[in-house]
C-alpha cells in the first residue's frame, strides 16, 4: 500500500503549482498507466486523506486511466493491450516488450479558480 505516499506527493505538487499561480484548486487531473503499480480506488481514497488538512481539502482527483500500448515489431504498429497479463500484438499475436504507453503517473492539469 504505497498509494498514500503517492497521494501526498500529488497534493504537494498541486499545492506548489497553485501557490505559484495564486489560484485555488477544484480538481487535479491525473494520468494513471495500467503499469504504474497504483490502484485507482485506493489512490482516490488516499487522496481524500492526504488533502484533508490542506488547502486542497474538498478538491477532486480526476483520474484518466491509460491502457498499455506496445509496439509490434512484426506489424510495425502500436497496439493497445486488453489485459496486462498478455503482452501480445492483437493483430498477429507476436509477443512484444516494447512499451509505448502505460507507465504514466502524471499530473496533467489543474482545474482552478482565481
Amino acid at each position: 500500500m504505497h498509494e498514500l505516499s503517492i497521494a501526498m506527493s500529488i497534493v504537494d505538487l498541486a499545492q506548489q503549482e497553485a501557490e505559484q499561480r495564486g489560484v485555488r484548486i477544484n480538481a487535479v487531473h491525473l494520468k494513471l498507466g495500467a503499469l504504474s503499480g497504483i490502484v485507482k480506488e485506493s489512490l482516490i481514497a488516499s487522496y481524500e486523506m492526504a488533502s484533508f488538512d490542506t488547502p486542497l481539502k474538498q478538491s477532486r482527483l480526476v483520474i484518466e486511466e491509460v491502457p498499455v500500448v506496445i509496439f509490434c515489431l512484426v506489424c510495425k504498429v502500436e497496439c493497445e493491450l486488453s489485459t496486462i497479463q498478455m503482452f501480445c500484438c492483437s493483430q498477429c499475436g507476436a509477443p512484444s516488450s516494447e512499451i509505448v504507453r502505460g507507465r504514466e503517473l502524471e499530473v496533467t492539469a489543474l482545474e482552478v479558480q482565481s
Binding site: M1, H2, S5, I6, S9, I10, L13, A14, E17, R21, V23, N26, H29, L30, L35, S36, G37, I38, I84, Q85, M86, F87, C88, P95, S96, S97, I99, L105, E106, V107, T108, A109, L110, E111, V112, Q113, S114
Partner: protein
C-alpha cells in the same frame, strides 16, 4: 464575483523526485564501476537465503556489499552478515518499499570505488516496489517454486518492472509439483523475452550459470564506461 473554473496544463511526473535521485545514483554507480543488482519478491520467497549464498560465493572473487530494506520487525541484515560481506540495513519502518533517497542516504561514507557488486534487497512485497526506480543496473524478481506458477499473472506489473526472473527453492520443485514450463509461459506472457534462472540456494544448483551471467554483465558495463 466568483470566476468560472478553468483548466491549466501542468504535466508533472508524480515520481519525478525519486526518478531524479535514481538517475543520479545510476550515474554515480557507473562512474564507480560498480554493478548494482536489486531484488524484489514476496515475503518467504527465499530471498535472504539466495542473497546470502550469492554474497558468500561472489566474495571469493569480487568485492561485494549489500543494502537490505527491512520492515522494523525484521532483521535480514543480521543473517546476511554471516556471508562476511559488508551489509547495511535500511529500516523502512512501516513503508512497504525502498525509495531512491533511502538508498542514497545509506550509501553515505561507503566507497563505491572499492566495490564490484552492490546488492539491494527490497522489502518483501510484489506490489509497491514496482513504481520506484532505485538506480540499479539489474532488477531481479524472485519466485519460489512453492508460490505457484500463476504468480506472474497475479503481479504482472512487478514482473514488467524487473529485468530477470529467478525461480528459487528449486530443490523443493518436485515435492510441490512445480510446473516450470507453465511458470515460464506465464512469465513470457507478462514480460516477453525475460531471462529466467532456476536456482537452489540450498544445493547450489543453477548458481554457476547465474553468477556467470552477473560477471558478464559487470564486464559489459565496465567496457561501456571505458569507451
Amino acid at each position: 464575483m466568483m470566476q468560472e473554473p478553468r483548466l491549466i496544463e501542468v504535466r508533472k511526473n508524480v515520481l519525478k523526485q525519486n526518478d531524479h535521485i535514481a538517475r543520479a545514483l545510476r550515474e554515480q554507480f557507473r562512474n564507480a564501476g560498480v554493478f548494482v543488482v536489486s531484488l524484489v519478491s514476496s515475503p518467504g520467497s527465499g530471498k535472504t537465503a539466495f542473497l546470502e549464498k550469492i554474497l558468500t560465493i561472489l566474495r571469493e572473487h569480487y568485492r561485494v556489499a549489500a543494502l537490505v530494506g527491512d520492515l522494523a520487525t525484521e532483521n535480514d541484515a543480521l543473517r546476511l552478515a554471516r556471508s562476511h560481506a559488508p551489509v547495511r540495513q535500511i529500516t523502512t519502518g512501516t513503508l512497504c518499499h525502498l525509495e531512491a533517497a533511502m538508498v542514497q542516504r545509506s550509501l553515505d561514507e561507503w566507497d563505491l570505488n572499492q566495490l564490484d557488486f552492490l546488492f539491494i534487497e527490497n522489502v518483501g512485497n510484489l506490489v509497491c516496489p514496482s513504481s520506484y526506480d532505485l538506480g540499479e543496473n539489474l532488477r531481479l524478481v524472485l519466485l519460489s517454486v512453492t508460490e505457484g506458477e500463476d504468480k506472474p499473472l497475479k503481479y504482472p506489473t512487478i514482473f514488467n518492472s524487473a529485468d530477470v526472473a529467478i525461480f528459487t527453492k528449486t530443490d523443493l520443485a518436485e515435492a510441490v509439483e512445480f510446473d516450470a514450463s507453465a511458470a515460464l509461459a506465464n512469465i513470457q506472457a507478462v514480460r516477453p523475452g525475460m531471462d529466467v534462472f532456476s536456482i537452489s540456494a540450498k544445493t547450489g544448483a543453477g548458481m554457476p550459470q547465474f553468477l556467470e551471467f552477473l560477471a558478464a554483465r559487470l564486464a559489459e558495463m565496465r567496457e561501456a564506461v571505458a569507451f
